[in-house]
């Protein structure tokens, strides 16, 4: 298996979980029509809040609660600005991000001076399931946060798809006027959604600081909040798409972590990328295929030509693996580049964004 071994899967799951949790919160908030661009700031505050409480009390559970409360408070500012004050959501998101960066850096530098490192979350082995080869250690020998994330996502999927509350929430994001006329409280719904996203992002941030690393560093969320927003867009505002996007980002991130240590890119990376490109092209074709005249004529789209060309190049690389070493910073840029490529090739959306996304609701519109 070379570099793609069980330890690789474990690290990919650890990277994916906080992004997935933050993205789930963002998804709920966006389905209700509030685009929270300040997610990065909320995550960072969560990371700091968790560390702060842990620094004071030494309790992991209280630390996570602290992170969630910090996220909740920041999300409340976002809700106040976007729902009550009806400020442009992108601008208020930028404000939150800046405030989060500055506030956490200042407080950390000023008040938590002897930095303390804590033990990360303990792993909990699930008895029978963790004995499954490969999947067992990756999925069922993880910490409590990852199990909680999995359960929460299932709950959110159920709530969004099967409950009146979820349907009302989506209605608020699609057509607040109709939802209002049907007696759904727009403000309450949006407040609930934004606060929920704050809870999720706060917990995800706390996982970054006290759950995974055990210490807080300035700006430690390192763009994961942005990746979470990108995952929501790429995932087409569906939970399944969100899972795919988070998986892609996490695998890219885990690969880059591994390759930094190895240096020369081994052959199996080229094979894996090639398989991925082919898979994406085939899936894309099948998706678009149904009833499209273009498929019948067998003509290739521009993207597919580009895809075929890259497959050919990758094949050449597999046969003759060159000794390419990429400097560390370029590896670090890889997940973001991949997110950009993913968003760019996704192109014209299959799924529409919620119609009222980022549009404040004014009752006088009715």
């Amino acid at each position: 298996m070379g570099i793609f071994d069980v330890a690789f899967l474990v690290s990919a799951v650890t990277i994916a979980a906080p992004i997935l949790l933050a993205a789930t919160g963002e998804l709920v908030s966006e389905r209700a029509g509030v685009l929270n661009v300040g997610l990065e700031g909320v995550m960072l505050t969560g990371a700091f809040g968790g560390y702060l409480v842990m620094w004071e009390t030494g309790s992991l559970v209280l630390g996570f609660v602290g992170g969630m409360i910090a996220g909740l408070l920041f999300a409340a500012v976002m809700a106040l600005l976007s729902i009550e004050a009806k400020v442009d959501q992108i601008v208020s998101g930028i404000a939150l991000t800046l405030l989060g960066y500055g506030l956490t850096a200042f407080l950390n530098e000023r008040f938590l001076v002897p930095a303390r490192t804590f033990d990360p979350l303990p792993r909990l082995e699930i008895p029978v399931l963790s004995d499954i080869p490969v999947i067992g250690p990756a999925m069922f020998d993880q910490d409590a946060f990852i199990y909680a994330t999995a359960i929460l996502i299932i709950l959110v999927a159920f709530a969004l798809g099967r409950t009146t509350w979820g349907i009302n929430l989506k209605a608020v994001g699609e057509s607040p006027v109709s939802a209002d006329a049907a007696g759904v409280g727009i403000r309450a719904m949006r407040w609930a959604a934004v606060l929920f996203s704050g809870l999720c992002a706060g917990a995800a941030g706390a996982y970054l600081s006290i759950g995974d690393v055990g210490v807080f560093r300035e700006g430690m969320s390192g763009g994961r909040g942005y990746l979470a927003i990108a995952a929501v867009l790429f995932g087409g505002w569906r939970l399944a798409g969100l899972g795919i996007a988070a998986t892609i980002f996490a695998v890219a991130d885990a690969t880059q972590l591994r390759l930094q240590a190895i240096g020369v890119i081994p052959r199996e990376v080229w094979v894996a990328v090639m398989i991925l490109v082919v898979l994406v092209m085939v899936l894309g074709r099948m998706r678009r295929g149904a009833g499209a005249a273009r498929l019948a004529s067998g003509r290739l789209t521009g993207i597919e030509v580009a895809g075929l060309a890259s497959v050919a190049i990758l094949l050449a690389l597999v046969i003759v693996p060159p000794s390419i070493t990429l400097p560390v910073p370029l590896w670090l840029a890889m997940p973001y580049l991949l997110a950009l490529v993913a968003l760019g090739t996704e192109g014209k959306r299959r799924h529409k964004a919620p119609t009222a996304l980022a549009v404040p609701y004014l009752r006088s519109e009715v």
């Binding site: 661009v37 500012v77 600005l81 004050a85 939150l96 506030l103 850096a105 910073p329 004014l362 519109e365």
Partner: protein, 366 residues
């Protein structure tokens, strides 16, 4: 007439600054520093003598340039936040070209570095523009991700292709003396660069461009109402792309100014130093007025310079400045809403205008 028009805006800005000063005093008191001491140290560090005043004014230039970029882009309805990345791209391009321009005469070399900065920033912004116009990717997400990529690319450049041979530090070789932007010789320490003339010139250019030219009208039409713009024969997509490119050019010029009119004659990977996001804050504090932004740019620059001085003299973390900058944006947003509420209460309400509050930051008159 003019006075009455601008009075509310001035009041808002003064009010915000007073509240921010109160917040700062509270934070200072909480961390055990007398606000009076802090104020005198702050004044001494920013305008107390010619050298420091020169630094403050010179550092206001990149902030204003970014702010002007934001004003142009928002007027065309494109709220992208790729300024940090474009500042880095512009600075890096200017560095790459400037390092090879040692033979050119001074004036020409300065012009070449400035143009290289503009080109680099506009190219980096071009990625965002392309992704938005032809691939339908939200410009805010792509620009956020491109910021993260640019940070890593800059880190790689100063450790790889552009690293100076003289030292092992991650920084480039010293710029050739002829490419350094000239500074006023009378000021001790030569801290006042001649590029402060860009403050009024660029602001006036943007005012005239937006309010007095057909081109500027096209931009504002594309930002205001896409449907109406189409009826006028204006392609809102083209307007958006051009606006993003112009804003990238401004940010790139800011990057060149940071390096070639800065304190150190080389490029290191942290040279951007938050200018990209703070420039947005400068524009917001000025209510998106280019002329007023000169003043707010100086205020923000003073916050940065003064924050460093406070750290040096009173050991207050310089991230206090970032906290205040974040707080200032939130306060400005709230103040804008309060002002609008009052305006709506006084005369007959304008539901149509109110409903378009998404364009709040974009539609104010020049």
């Amino acid at each position: 007439m003019l006075m009455r028009q601008h009075l509310p805006r001035v009041l808002v800005t003064v009010g915000v600054i007073v509240i921010a000063a109160l917040i700062a005093s509270l934070i200072l008191l909480a961390s055990g520093v007398a606000p009076v001491d802090a104020l005198s140290a702050f004044w001494e560090g920013t305008f107390g003598n010619g050298t420091n005043a020169g630094t403050t004014l010179t550092q206001a230039v990149p902030l204003l340039l970014v702010a002007l970029g934001w004003i142009v882009a928002t007027r065309a309805g494109r709220l992208h936040v790729g300024y940090p990345g474009q500042v880095i791209a512009g600075g890096a391009t200017a560095t790459a070209i400037g390092l090879n321009c040692g033979g050119l005469p001074g004036a020409l070399a300065v012009l070449v570095t400035a143009l290289a900065g503009i080109a680099g920033g506009a190219l980096w912004a071009g990625l965002t523009a392309w992704l938005w116009a032809s691939r339908g990717v939200l410009e805010i997400i792509s620009s956020l991700l491109l910021n993260l990529v640019a940070i890593q690319v800059a880190a790689w450049l100063v450790r790889g292709p552009l690293q100076g041979t003289a030292s092992q530090e991650p920084q480039t070789a010293n710029f050739p003396p002829s490419t350094i932007w000239p500074s006023v010789p009378a000021i001790p320490g030569q801290t006042l660069s001649f590029d402060v003339v860009l403050l009024p010139i660029c602001a006036v250019i943007v005012v005239l461009l937006l309010s007095r030219t057909v081109f500027g009208f096209g931009l504002r039409a594309s930002g205001g109402n896409g449907e109406a713009a189409r009826w006028l024969g204006i392609d809102p997509k083209r307007g958006g792309v051009v606006a993003i490119l112009i804003s990238g050019g401004f940010a790139g010029l800011a990057g060149a100014a940071l390096l070639f009119a800065g304190t150190a004659p080389w490029m290191s990977d942290g040279f951007e130093a938050g200018v990209g996001f703070n420039g947005i804050a400068v524009a917001l504090l000025a209510g998106n007025s280019p002329v007023f932004a000169i003043l707010t740019a100086v205020v923000f620059s003073a916050l940065n310079v003064g924050g460093t001085a406070l750290q040096a003299t009173l050991d207050v973390p310089s991230s206090l400045a970032e906290v205040l900058q974040g707080a200032v944006i939130v306060l400005v947003l709230l103040a804008a809403v309060l002002a609008r509420r009052r305006r709506e209460q006084a005369p007959a309400p304008q539901p149509a205008a109110a409903a378009k509050s998404l364009a709040l930051v974009g539609t104010e008159e020049v």
